[in-house]
Subunit: 238 residues, 2 copies
């Protein structure tokens, strides 16, 4: 495959573009301090995140009706606040804290690397996060998307093929003119199954120091890069 | 209403942000020269555009199934090329010429004005144009959208209320936290009927020198500006 056949790069966002764990942990520590709770806030972020995959799986299986990630996060938040011993908190304040996921910092190469890739390709998000979350995050973290796209627009979460295919269709492109960039092999496998191209960018710090998975590409991935600048160089961007 | 209640500005695009008539006319003149056809190319642009409203009305009435604006433009193109005496042309070349509507120049204040408005508000397209068209146009004309949204995502064309309401819902906002910015009173009336706010920005040159309509706001519009900088000043943007 030549990189000139690719017209658009679509990006997994949580973990691939932004460092959700550090960003949520920091905001949770502030929230905890306000309410007199001490905890391991990295663990809190992991525990909050743990509801994400379960919530999406229930939607894709048909067990639950469609619900956006903001709602999945909010439901999980209710569970873990109780586990961590928080007192009752007003709904407005919870809704605001739930938007911690809209305020995630990009990895150090995110904005500059995306700008390089944007000079040659259409760049768009392809996250399970909902459009509002991704739009607010792009403003917060200065992510220069050409388009904010999401599994929300397909009504199916990744790794359902329709999540990838709907994104290519909205961009007016054939599936193999679109490449998913992600830090997670399972997501990239989903993209390949849907007919897209796949680029692994490793993010060894996503889960702190305990990560073993997703550090090596599978044999049929198209590109393998250590960050967005590395990918930009391999794709011949200036 | 205070401008601080507004969280997002959503924009009509054809005529409001970009000068479609001059841009399409210029590309049509080149296309005509290549095929040995002389014509009034402003009139050609108007005639091409004339199919747009009819095509959308047929979709909203249920007479036609959903079709994207690229398809509406392509069907209309077939009709007018015959009227203007063009010889048969290969489909690939027609598909490329049909993308003239993806390559429209912004009005002189478009990029700089949008950047000022973006400093204080979420800014997004809310066009009947499809996502691919709007994404390519944003790259071509340097339109710094926070999100590229479209009636395509509602499956209903403006001025159907769902086109406006779906956009607000995708942004996670209440209808009255979103203001449509448009150069067309009918579009703004549709926004108000759907529960959004409305700002008229006049574009007296959209149709050349013959325009009489859409130069004055209706009494219940929220803002009335002569260009995006004027609107930015009224909204207190730097």
């Amino acid at each position: 495959m030549s990189s000139s056949d690719i017209k658009a790069l679509v990006f997994d966002v949580f973990g691939t573009v932004v460092d959700w764990r550090t960003s949520v942990s920091r905001q949770a520590a502030q929230f905890g301090a306000k309410h007199g709770i001490s905890a391991d806030w990295n663990q809190f972020a992991d525990d909050w995140r743990a509801g994400y995959h379960t919530g999406m799986a229930r939607v894709n299986s048909g067990e639950d009706e469609w619900k956006i990630v903001d709602q999945i996060h909010r439901e999980r938040l209710g569970v873990i606040l109780e586990q961590y011993g928080f007192p009752p908190i007003a709904e407005d304040e919870l809704a605001e804290f739930n938007k911690a996921w809209h305020r995630l910092d990009g990895w150090p190469d995110a904005t500059s690397g995306l700008n390089r890739l944007k000079s040659k390709y259409i760049i768009a998000s392809l996250s399970n996060g909902n459009i509002a979350l991704l739009t607010n995050m792009a403003k917060y973290a200065n992510l220069p998307w050409d388009a904010v796209l999401s599994a929300e627009l397909a009504g199916r979460y990744k790794t359902h093929p329709r999540a990838y295919q709907k994104t290519a269709e909205l961009l007016g492109l054939k599936y193999d003119q679109v490449m998913l960039v992600a830090a997670h092999n399972g997501d990239l496998r989903g993209a390949i199954n849907a007919g897209l191209k796949a680029a692994l960018v490793t993010r060894p710090d996503e889960f702190g120091c305990s990560q073993q998975a997703d550090l090596e590409p599978e044999p049929d991935f198209d590109y393998f890069a250590k960050d967005f600048h590395d990918l930009a160089e391999q794709l011949g961007c200036e």
